[in-house]
Symmetry: C2
Subunit: 193 residues, 2 copies
């Protein structure tokens, strides 16, 4: 399990044995069952999550309906706004499948940053990279139709379409489950003719 983490970090900086030990001594892993809920609306928490295995999602309940807005899979990090703003959460975070996450919080972060300043550099670079990816993602969302978004997702994250229930995918694409169903039928129809 540590190896997964070190492989990820090695894409940014190479670690000394000292640094590896420091991480191992502070790392908190958590195994979760499918459907387990990590955070609920109204709850406060300083934890951020790094997915080592499995898949978690963010969803809201709006007018009694579940709206999934994001999925995080292997090697992706989720920092809830509640952790940054010190404010109660507005959404749920829950496991789509059985999942293993690495927990992090401001205290352990501060400890690592002060011992190994290179870590903070890495986190800044990482945050900037994720910001850029999300920006591009948002741009694509804005400039395309639900059908294009679905076809796009098929290309870019075919794994998601396999392991995520349709109704969760639908709101992720900004539409209702019935519309996703219809849209898929439409695409099949086009390809048949």
């Amino acid at each position: 399990m540590h190896d997964l983490l070190f492989d990820f970090i090695s894409k940014y900086i190479s670690l000394t044995e000292d640094e590896k030990e420091a991480i191992v001594s502070l790392a908190m892993f958590r195994s979760l069952k499918k459907g387990a809920i990590l955070l609920r609306p109204g709850e406060r928490s300083n934890d951020a999550y790094f997915v080592l295995k499995g898949c978690i999602r963010i969803y809201y309940i709006i007018d009694g309906e579940e709206k999934t807005t994001a999925f995080y899979t292997e090697m992706e990090a989720l920092t809830p706004h509640a952790a940054v703003n010190q404010s109660p959460s507005e959404y749920y975070i829950s496991c789509v499948t059985d999942t293993i996450v690495l927990l992090s919080n401001p205290d352990t972060e501060a400890e690592i940053f002060s011992k190994f300043p290179r870590f903070e550099s890495m986190c800044r670079v990482l945050a900037e990279e994720v910001l850029i990816k999300q920006q591009i993602n948002f741009d694509e969302f804005k400039t395309s139709s639900p059908e294009q978004r679905y076809l796009n997702l098929l290309q870019k994250r075919p794994d998601l379409i396999q392991r995520v229930p349709q109704h969760q995918l639908a709101s992720y694409l900004g539409i209702k489950p019935q519309s996703l169903s219809r849209l898929r039928a439409r695409i099949l129809e086009k390809n048949k003719v």
Copy 2:
């Protein structure tokens, strides 16, 4: 002009005179006319921008149509993906109004970071904050209709609706200019009755 910048920074850390001097000596300001283009598709550049006055936007040309996806106004920072990925830009960056920006690039950043490590901490915190804001923004976009998005924008950034042309706003809301026109007429109609 420096004051605007120092006011912004003071929200995160307080500066010593040494630090202020270092910033002043490295800061590069640039005044731009409405319509001026800062970056074009295909161009490489390491510059990031911090808007001191005015408004800039990101837009794509897709199938011959202009699609505006983001606006940046006073005290907002724009780091183009071209600067992070070292890759050619995929979009235009241009001035909506006359604008003054502060330029930054990896070299000047590295210089400041090595002299004043607190600066890198601030940038990490800032990047994380912006990431969270954008995440919430994206969530709201996904979970609401074009009409709701427009009403929401009226609340949150009424200034934008004043100073940005309708057709740029339309694609920012994920629709065509004609639809925005119609949607506004619809809202007026509702409020009349």
